[in-house]
């Protein structure tokens, strides 16, 4: 890591709140969701505890053909003082504008970008790349990392025919300002991030890259920052369950020489 010499940027710790029907839920390997808590309360808790950013991912949005409910976006924006990103079925510039106007800092597109890659260009043109995150659900198939869409609903989940590393290059070229790579093979397992895949993604990704899927303990965060040089690490269960308080995680990271924002 070259943090100290060249930039003072901190590595970001990002709790992800999967939202379904106005509640925060979490599944194991994208299935069997159970309710973890109420949106605004959890957002406030993480903001106060030292999270650097929050991602709200409406996992039911795309499969049911609807966009996110904007009311909770505004309620979250009113109470928290850290940046947050909203994902879930955003299919147009107008839908993205509504969410940004409600107070979100970024919007993230996944399935709609796969179906209509020009959406990434349109969003970047309208709001600037810094607002545009592309989420990618990736899993090994026939020896290659490939992407999935409609991952919020196991019955609707589909192959995309896209190789993950090619897709990263394409969306960055189109104006994505950040990539969140959900490694589906490790999601919910608490066995650690997919260091091999994230390292490969890092090599082709010139914009900020966020690791997702597999965090179970502090060491997994230290490992992913050291091995894959990611800009941030996203996790859900390990934070929602209280297993790993953010202050404790940041203290461990600082001791390991990772640049973090003190809580």
């Amino acid at each position: 890591m070259t943090d100290a010499a060249t930039t003072g940027l901190a590595r970001r710790i990002i709790p992800c709140l999967d939202v379904r029907d106005g509640q925060v839920v979490k599944g194991v390997q994208f299935r069997d969701h159970r309710v973890m808590g109420e949106i605004v309360g959890l957002a406030q808790r993480y903001s106060a505890e030292g999270a650097d950013e929050l991602v709200f991912y409406d996992i039911t949005a795309s499969p049911e053909g609807r966009s996110v409910d904007h009311d909770w976006v505004r309620r979250v924006a009113e109470v928290i003082d850290i940046p947050f990103c909203v994902a879930g079925g955003i299919r147009s510039v107008d839908e993205a504008r509504t969410i940004l106007q409600a107070g979100a800092d970024k919007i993230s597109v996944n399935t709609p970008a796969v179906r209509n890659p020009d959406l990434v260009n349109a969003l970047a043109d309208a709001f600037g790349s810094q607002c545009v995150v592309v989420g990618i659900d990736s899993i090994v198939q026939d020896g290659a990392w490939t992407t999935r869409q409609m991952t919020g609903n196991p019955d609707a989940m589909e192959h995309t025919g896209l190789e993950t590393l090619d897709w990263i290059g394409q969306v960055v070229e189109r104006g994505a300002g950040e990539i969140v790579l959900n490694c589906m093979g490790s999601d919910g397992t608490r066995d650690g991030y997919d260091l091999q895949q994230l390292t490969a993604a890092r090599a082709v990704c010139a914009v900020p890259l966020i690791a997702s899927g597999g965090a179970g303990e502090a060491r997994h965060f230290t490992d992913v920052f050291a091995a894959a040089d990611v800009d941030g690490a996203l996790a859900a269960t390990v934070f929602h369950s209280g297993a790993l308080p953010i202050a404790q995680l940041k203290s461990t990271l600082a001791d390991a020489g990772v640049s973090v924002r003190p809580c």
């Binding site: 930039t7 850290i82 106007q101 810094q130 010139a206 924002r261």
Partner: protein
């Protein structure tokens, strides 16, 4: 006290208004010259590109209005950049209130552009805008162009090269970061701005 937020065309104004609300301050989002001139405090926000924002200001006849303001003015993110003479982003002439030109960050391995995330700043001179901040405050940044460090710099930050994180020239001040999204340190900067005499 009244506070006007200038409509410079960006989408994300809500978070600035909510942050002010948390400090007990109401605000008016406006492109009306008379409202801006009458306000006790003026915030120039900005999300998007320098060229689009300057076109919006010109369209509403606000360039001379802003240049002539005498009350405390705070530019945030792109709004701070607009206080400078010019930007390489589209080769745009800006408000010219602070000398210098915005340059794009040079990307490199380990140096991603945009400069996005939490970074710490180093105060370079005293100003009420920085009052009460901890020795090494942390702020949330999102930008691809950076302002030079000079006499106007209140606090500097580093991403490959040093750049201005907070600036002041007369009644005009600016923050390159988003104070509305920078937790307690950011709230302190906004509070300091409201309390300027």
């Amino acid at each position: 006290m009244s506070l006007a937020i200038i409509d410079s065309g960006g989408a994300n104004i809500a978070s600035v208004r909510f942050a002010l609300n948390r400090l007990g301050m109401e605000s008016t989002f406006t492109a009306d010259r008379a409202v801006i001139e009458r306000a006790d405090r003026v915030i120039l926000p900005g999300v998007g590109a320098a060229g689009a924002a300057m076109r919006q200001l010109r369209k509403h006849g606000l360039v001379d209005c802003i240049r002539g303001l005498t009350q405390p003015v705070l530019g945030i993110c792109l709004g701070m950049q607009l206080l400078f003479e010019a930007s390489d982003e589209g080769d745009v002439r800006c408000l010219g209130l602070i000398p210098g030109r915005l340059r794009r960050f040079d990307g490199a391995p380990g140096l991603r552009v945009p400069h996005m995330g939490w970074n710490h700043t180093r105060q370079t001179r005293d100003d009420p805008l920085c009052a009460g901040l901890r020795a090494t405050p942390w702020f949330y940044f999102v930008h691809s162009y950076h302002a030079p460090v000079g006499e106007h710099t209140l606090a500097a930050c580093r991403h490959g090269q040093a750049f201005s994180a907070m600036v002041q020239q007369g009644n005009f001040r600016g923050a390159q970061f988003h104070p509305e999204r920078s937790a307690a340190d950011g709230a302190r900067v906004l509070k300091n701005f409201l309390e300027l005499s």
